[in-house]
C-alpha cells in the first residue's frame, strides 16, 4: 500500500546536450499532491517533459519508476496510455486538427491500449459535454483547431478539460495557474479537485503559492538549479511566498 506510484531517483537530464536536472529524487504515492516550486529556469518544465517523454529531453542517469515500471524507456504515447498526463505550460496551437479530433483519437488510443473497442459517438459527445461544463468551455469551441485562437486562459482551461476527459492517474500540471485571473484559477482548481482521489496522484508545478490555496498539497519541493534543495509541508509554500526565491540564488 505504501509503495510509491512515481519514484524518481537521482535523475539527471540534458536538453540539447546541456545538463539541466542534476540529481533529483522524490516519491509520489497514490492519493498525494506534490507541489514543485522554484525560480525561473530551475528545471521545472524540464522535469515535467522528461516525465512525459518529450523527444530531446534525455535522462542521462538515475531512474524513474511508474507503478514499478521503468517509465524512461516508454514512448510518450505509451506513457499517456499508462495514465501519465502533462498539462503544458505553453499549450500548442494546431490549426487544422480539431479539438474533437484530438480527443477522440486520444480516447480511442487508450481504449486500444487496454484492448477495448472504440468509443460510441453518442457516448463521446455526452462525455465531452459533461466535462466541458466543469471548466466552463463552450463545446462549440471544440470544433475549432486545437487551441486555435484560444486566449491564454482558454488554453489553460483546455488543458484541464483534456485531463478531465482522459482521466489520467498521474497528473503533472506545469504552471497551469500562471497568467490566470482568479475566476479562471478557481475553474482550474475545481478541475484538478474533481479528479483527486486515493487512486490518483498530482504533481503541481507552480511559480505561485496562490493555486495551493485551492488545491492543498501534501508536500512542497523547492527546485533550484536542477536539484531539490528543500522539501516540506504546505507551510513551505507560505514561507516561499514571503521570502521569495532570492535566498535560493545565494544558497
Amino acid at each position: 500500500m505504501s509503495k510509491a506510484m512515481l519514484n524518481i531517483k537521482d535523475l539527471h537530464a540534458t536538453v540539447d546536450g546541456k545538463e539541466i536536472l542534476k540529481g533529483l529524487s522524490f516519491e509520489v504515492k497514490a492519493g498525494e499532491v506534490h507541489a514543485i516550486m522554484g525560480p525561473n529556469g530551475s528545471g521545472k518544465s524540464t522535469l515535467a517533459h522528461v516525465l512525459a517523454g518529450r523527444e530531446g529531453y534525455v535522462a542521462t542517469a538515475g531512474e524513474v519508476e511508474f507503478d514499478g515500471k521503468d517509465l524512461l524507456t516508454l514512448e510518450p504515447e505509451v506513457r499517456a496510455c499508462e495514465g501519465v498526463f502533462l498539462g503544458f505550460q505553453y499549450p500548442v496551437e494546431i490549426p487544422g486538427v480539431s479539438n474533437l479530433t484530438l480527443l477522440k483519437a486520444a480516447i480511442n488510443a487508450r481504449r486500444k491500449y487496454r484492448g477495448g473497442s472504440e468509443i460510441e459517438a453518442s457516448d463521446f459527445l455526452a462525455w465531452i459535454r459533461d466535462r466541458a461544463k466543469i471548466v466552463k468551455i463552450d463545446p462549440k469551441m471544440l470544433s475549432r483547431g486545437v487551441n486555435e485562437g484560444f486566449s491564454g486562459g482558454e488554453k489553460k482551461r483546455n488543458e484541464i478539460l483534456q485531463m478531465l476527459i482522459l482521466e489520467p492517474r498521474l497528473m503533472i500540471l506545469d504552471e497551469t495557474d500562471s497568467g490566470l485571473d482568479i475566476d479562471a484559477l478557481k475553474i482550474v482548481a475545481d478541475g484538478i479537485n474533481t479528479l483527486r482521489s486515493p487512486e490518483r496522484a498530482t504533481v503541481l508545478v507552480t511559480h505561485y503559492q496562490r493555486l495551493l490555496d485551492y488545491v492543498q498539497p501534501d508536500f512542497v519541493h523547492v527546485l533550484a538549479r536542477g536539484r531539490i534543495v528543500k522539501s516540506g509541508g504546505p507551510e513551505l509554500a507560505q514561507e516561499l511566498e514571503q521570502k521569495g526565491y532570492g535566498w535560493l540564488e545565494a544558497a
Partner: protein, 413 residues
C-alpha cells in the same frame, strides 16, 4: 540517328493516316526531330531533365487493354481513355470525345511538336452560350498495364460560350505495367462570364512519365477555378498557363503536391493579367518526402494597362526528409502601377511541438504525423467544392475522413 525510335513509331502510325494528315503531322514530327526535347539549359527546364526520354523506345500501344478496376466518382459522367485511346464501353459521355485533331501551326517547342505529330483525340467539351453541364465530367486516363514501354499523346479542348458553366475532373490514375510516356495538351477558352471548375489529379505510378500543358484564356468576367493535385510516384511536369484577357476575369489555380518516394513533380504556372480589374489567386502546398523532388515555378505577369489587378500567390512546403528537394520560385513581373500583388514562398518542417503535444495525449507518432499532414493539406483540399470528389481524393491520399467525427463537429457547432 537521334530520336530514331520516335521516327520509327511515327512511320507505323502514319500508315494509318490519310495523305493530308500524314504530311501535316510529318511536318510536326520533323520539327520535333529538329528541336528535340527541351533542354536543361533552358531556364524553364532547369530542374526537369527530359534528356533520358530521347534515348528510350516507346511504342504506340497496339492492343486495346480493357480495364475492370475503374474507380468512379458518384454523380459524375465519364469519359475513359486507356493508353490514350477512347474506351466507349466505360464511357457514359461519349458525346464529349473529340475527333482526330489536325494541327497546322508549327508547334512552339519540341515537346508540343511531338504531341502534335502523334496527337490522338481526347476531351472535346464545347458548350453554347448559357449552357450548363449538369453532372461533373470525369475524364479518366488509364494505362492498360502493358509490360512493354508505350507512349500516348492527346489533345483536349474545353470551349465554354458566354455564361456557360461546367465542372471537369481530369484524372491520371494509378496502374501497373511498363514504362510509359504520355503528353497532353488542353486548350481552354472561357467566354464572357463563363465558369469552369477544373481538377487535374495525378496519381501516376513510378515508371510513368507524364507531361501536361494547359493553356486557358478568359474573356470578360470569366471565372476559372482550378485544382492541381499530384500524389503519384512518376516523373511529371505540368505547365499551366492562364491569360486573363477580358476585364474582371478571375482565375484561381490551387495545388497540392504530395509525391510518392522517388517521384519528380514539376509545376510551372504562368498567370498573365492582360486586362484591368482581373483577380488571381494561387495557393500551392507541397509535402515532400524521401528522395523526392518537387519544383514549383509561379510566374505572374501584370501587363501595362491591367490596372486594378488583384493578385496573390502563396506557396508553402513541408520537407519531411533530408533527402528531399524543393525548388519553389515565385516570379512577378509587374508593368502596371495601380495593382495589388502579394506573394510568398516558404519551406518548413513538420511542427515538432505539435507532434509532441499529440503524442503526449496518447496518439501514436504515425497517427499524429498523418493528422498534421492532413491539417497542412486541408487548406488546399477545401477548394474542392464537390463532396464526392473530395472523398475520392482523401481516399487515395490515405486521409480517410471520419464522417462520424464530422457529424459530431456538426452536433456541437
Amino acid at each position: 540517328m537521334k530520336l530514331q525510335p520516335y521516327s520509327e513509331a511515327f512511320e507505323r502510325f502514319a500508315a494509318t493516316l490519310s495523305d493530308s494528315e500524314r504530311s501535316t503531322r510529318g511536318r510536326q514530327l520533323q520539327r520535333f526531330l529538329t528541336l528535340g526535347f527541351p533542354s536543361k539549359r533552358e531556364e524553364d527546364w532547369r530542374y526537369t531533365d527530359l534528356s533520358p526520354l530521347a534515348d528510350k523506345t516507346f511504342g504506340l500501344a497496339n492492343e486495346f487493354g480493357a480495364r475492370a478496376d475503374l474507380k468512379t466518382i458518384d454523380g459524375t459522367e465519364r469519359l475513359v481513355f486507356v493508353d490514350g485511346r477512347f474506351d466507349p464501353t466505360h464511357s457514359s459521355a461519349a458525346q464529349f470525345h473529340g475527333e482526330l485533331p489536325t494541327i497546322e501551326t508549327p508547334a512552339a517547342d519540341g515537346l508540343l511538336a511531338l504531341n502534335a505529330a502523334f496527337a490522338a483525340s481526347g476531351l472535346n467539351l464545347q458548350l453554347a452560350a448559357n449552357e450548363h453541364l449538369d453532372a461533373p465530367l470525369h475524364v479518366l486516363f488509364l494505362g492498360s498495364g502493358d509490360a512493354a514501354a508505350t507512349m500516348s499523346h492527346q489533345r483536349h479542348r474545353i470551349v465554354l460560350g458566354a455564361g456557360a458553366s461546367a465542372t471537369v475532373i481530369l484524372e491520371f490514375a494509378r496502374d501497373s505495367g511498363g514504362e510509359r510516356l504520355a503528353t497532353h495538351t488542353l486548350d481552354i477558352e472561357l467566354g464572357a462570364n463563363a465558369q469552369l471548375r477544373l481538377h487535374r489529379l495525378q496519381f501516376e505510378r513510378a515508371g510513368a512519365n507524364l507531361l501536361t500543358r494547359i493553356d486557358a484564356r478568359l474573356a470578360r468576367d470569366a471565372r476559372l477555378k482550378a485544382l492541381c493535385l499530384d500524389a503519384g510516384g512518376g516523373f511529371t511536369r505540368h505547365d499551366f498557363n492562364v491569360s486573363l484577357d477580358g476585364a474582371g476575369a478571375d482565375a484561381e489555380v490551387h495545388g497540392l503536391y504530395a509525391p510518392q518516394p522517388r517521384a519528380h513533380v514539376d509545376n510551372h504556372t504562368r498567370i498573365v493579367h492582360a486586362a484591368p480589374h482581373g483577380r488571381s489567386r494561387e495557393h500551392f502546398r507541397g509535402i515532400v518526402g524521401e528522395r523526392t523532388r518537387a519544383v514549383f515555378s509561379g510566374k505572374v505577369v501584370v501587363q501595362p494597362g491591367a490596372q486594378k489587378t488583384d493578385s496573390e500567390q502563396r506557396i508553402a512546403n513541408l520537407l519531411l526528409s533530408k533527402h528531399a528537394e524543393v525548388n519553389a520560385k515565385p516570379d512577378l513581373e509587374i508593368y502596371a502601377d495601380d495593382v495589388k500583388c502579394a506573394h510568398g514562398a516558404t519551406v518548413g518542417q513538420l511542427d515538432d511541438s505539435a507532434l509532441a503535444y499529440l503524442r503526449s495525449r496518447g496518439i501514436d507518432a504515425a497517427t499524429a504525423k498523418s493528422l498534421l499532414l492532413r491539417a497542412f493539406a486541408i487548406e488546399i483540399l477545401d477548394h474542392v467544392g464537390y463532396a464526392p470528389l473530395r472523398r475520392h481524393i482523401e481516399d487515395i491520399l490515405n486521409f480517410p475522413d471520419d464522417p462520424e467525427l464530422d457529424a459530431l463537429i456538426e452536433a456541437v457547432s
